[in-house]
Symmetry: C2
Subunit: 332 residues, 2 copies
DNA sequence: CGATTGACTGCATACGATTGCATCGACTTT
DNA sequence: AAAGTCGATGCAATCGTATGCAGTCAATCG
């Protein structure tokens, strides 16, 4: 920058002002100077050093996103949308993947205490209120989270009422499709998500006066393989369920393939409902009936909430609900 | 840091030395001091400011990765592996997505001229030699690329011989499976990838003395929808091909579904071969025969090459070849 | 016509770390 | 015993930018 200043015959501070004032702010610069500086920049091929700017301004124009599974299309849509919105504002995005592992979530938080970022978007599966609280307190970084259970005054949240959505989907299997033996491929109830969806399932069965035999309850780990294993177990039962609800589409597809490989017809022999409505649901035959979440909306809201906090325009704690909707296709 | 120094009763430079020396380097610190400093750090909850360190050291402990399609599992494996290796070295990873769009690739390069990163991994589809050259020249940033055609002394590359792999796969369809009418779902030959694979296809047909009628050649844009459209066009021909090679698995799955929806049997009525061997290939029925690329290996090599450059241990320009292999499944 | 104003620019410092050089005491060497 | 060595630490400059404050000059005001 000093070189630019010298070449343009102005002081370094003038160059700085030209580069850091978004067009016309309080401090005015003459057209003449402006042009000279820009042509000097051009000539030298000068590029601003963001590390120095960050040190001085205490802002980095960078946000970080912590997601649970980079191979799940649900998170692609979210991160994709966040990146688009960030790009419009000249923000870069750091993406970290936790694989649903507590240890990795904690490591991410640690990293963010050092790496200066202006904001963080979290999809926490394990992080406790206290951990997030202490992070926010100590760093003052803006935070938005995709989390239903988290209720922190400084953390805006976006979430879907997935418990109710599960309840409604199972209810639909009962009331509309006439199923009375319904299996459930969940995940560990150590995850809030797993707990909520399991509750929704249980409630639907209970209200319909149906049994919820424990052998109808399988747990996977979000992967297709685990869904396939769970389905194999369910179908091996003396009296297998006639419908199965899976907690995400990836496990549902694993389950679907197991059913097909066993020679079962879907949905005639066994119906299948997934969750998330990722593009894969359209890519399998029969097409997968699935509870849609709207990750693009989620990502947009998360980004908007975060930037509102970064800009300091947030007036109060926000908790947004993005409704789910059952998408009926061929598998149920 | 000053506060830590004061509390520990030492100078700020001593604290810095303790934090910046990876264990025992040339400069020795007494155990006594060491402990006092660490307990002071603990007590104050001090965290190093990486922006300041970066400004001083001109290193950021951050690398950037530019990929073409965040929704393609092929790139997940690559970025995933890169992130793992980076994490081991305490590096953060910035991920940017170009959607195969030239404009976005250029924007990424621009961003990297400002944002100080220690290294960049590129998957360039459009960037020219000159653009990459000028970037390297002006920033001196370490660069590694997943690109077959790029031959720059300062850029190490990893690639697969996908042209030959395509040739071999088509050849296999001819020689082993007896097909004589083979369609091709490619992408624009503006992409080097598209060009190379198209050449491989043409060569296999030519060597077998087979026709390559222009109507057997369809172009998609990497998406399932485009694959579906291409397949619909091929199957609508008066004399449709009996086998189709698609340039990636995502388009192949779109094509597969179109075939199934048309009531065709795969592979009896039409055989299908994809490229990339992403997990999706196992998730569809019939399972997709596909040319495997090894993105985990690619990611590992890219990361290793990049870090070798960052560490300055690179002695000469490297070009690695990761062989492809045809994975026979049920679709052909 | 002197004083005030406003447009524009420069000076100098600060952001929070790293690092070459100097210092200083204790110990070894000759 | 003087000189040299080594371990341990402090001093002060520096990285590249942003910004409060002060200064200059021309135009305007009373």
């Amino acid at each position: 920058m000093r070189d630019v200043a010298k070449l343009a015959g102005v002081s370094q501070s003038t160059v700085s002002r030209i580069l850091s004032q978004p067009a016309s702010t309080s401090i005015p610069i003459s057209d003449e100077t402006y042009k000279r500086v820009y042509s000097a920049i051009e000539e030298l091929g000068y590029q601003l050093n963001l590390a120095a700017r960050s040190l001085r301004t205490q802002r980095t124009n960078m946000i970080a996103v912590m997601i649970a599974d980079i191979s799940n299309a649900f998170y692609h849509s979210i991160t994709r949308t966040i990146q688009d919105i960030a790009a419009q504002r000249n923000y870069d995005v750091l993406i970290a993947n936790t694989d649903h592992v507590y240890e990795y979530e904690k490591r991410f938080i640690q990293a963010m205490m050092r790496r200066p970022v202006d904001g963080v978007i979290l999809v926490p599966y394990h992080l406790t209120f206290d951990e997030i609280d202490s992070f926010v307190e100590r760093t003052g970084v803006a935070v938005a989270a995709l989390a239903r259970h988290l209720d922190h005054p400084l953390v805006d949240t976006v979430s879907a009422d997935d418990g109710t959505a599960t309840y409604e989907a199972v209810n639909w299997l009962i009331a509309q499709k006439g199923h009375r033996r319904i299996g459930f491929i969940g995940v560990s109830t150590a995850f809030m998500v797993g707990e909520r969806r399991h509750q929704g399932y249980m409630r639907a069965l209970a209200e319909a006066g149906l049994d919820a035999p424990p052998e109808y309850l399988e747990r996977g780990d979000f992967t297709a393989e685990s869904g396939a294993r769970a389905m194999a177990a369910l179908m091996a039962l003396p009296e297998p369920p006639t419908a199965v609800f899976a907690c995400n589409d990836i496990m549902a597809v694993g389950a679907l393939n197991t059913a097909l490989d066993l020679g079962l017809r879907v949905p005639q022999d066994v119906a299948l409902v997934g969750f998330d409505n990722i593009p894969l649901a359209e890519q399998v035959r029969p097409r997968l009936t699935s509870v849609a979440q709207y990750p693009v909306d989620m990502g947009r809201e998360l980004a908007n909430l975060l930037f509102a906090r970064i800009d300091g325009t947030t007036t109060q704690h926000q908790r947004l609900d993005i409704p789910c909707r059952l998408i009926e296709r061929e598998s149920a």
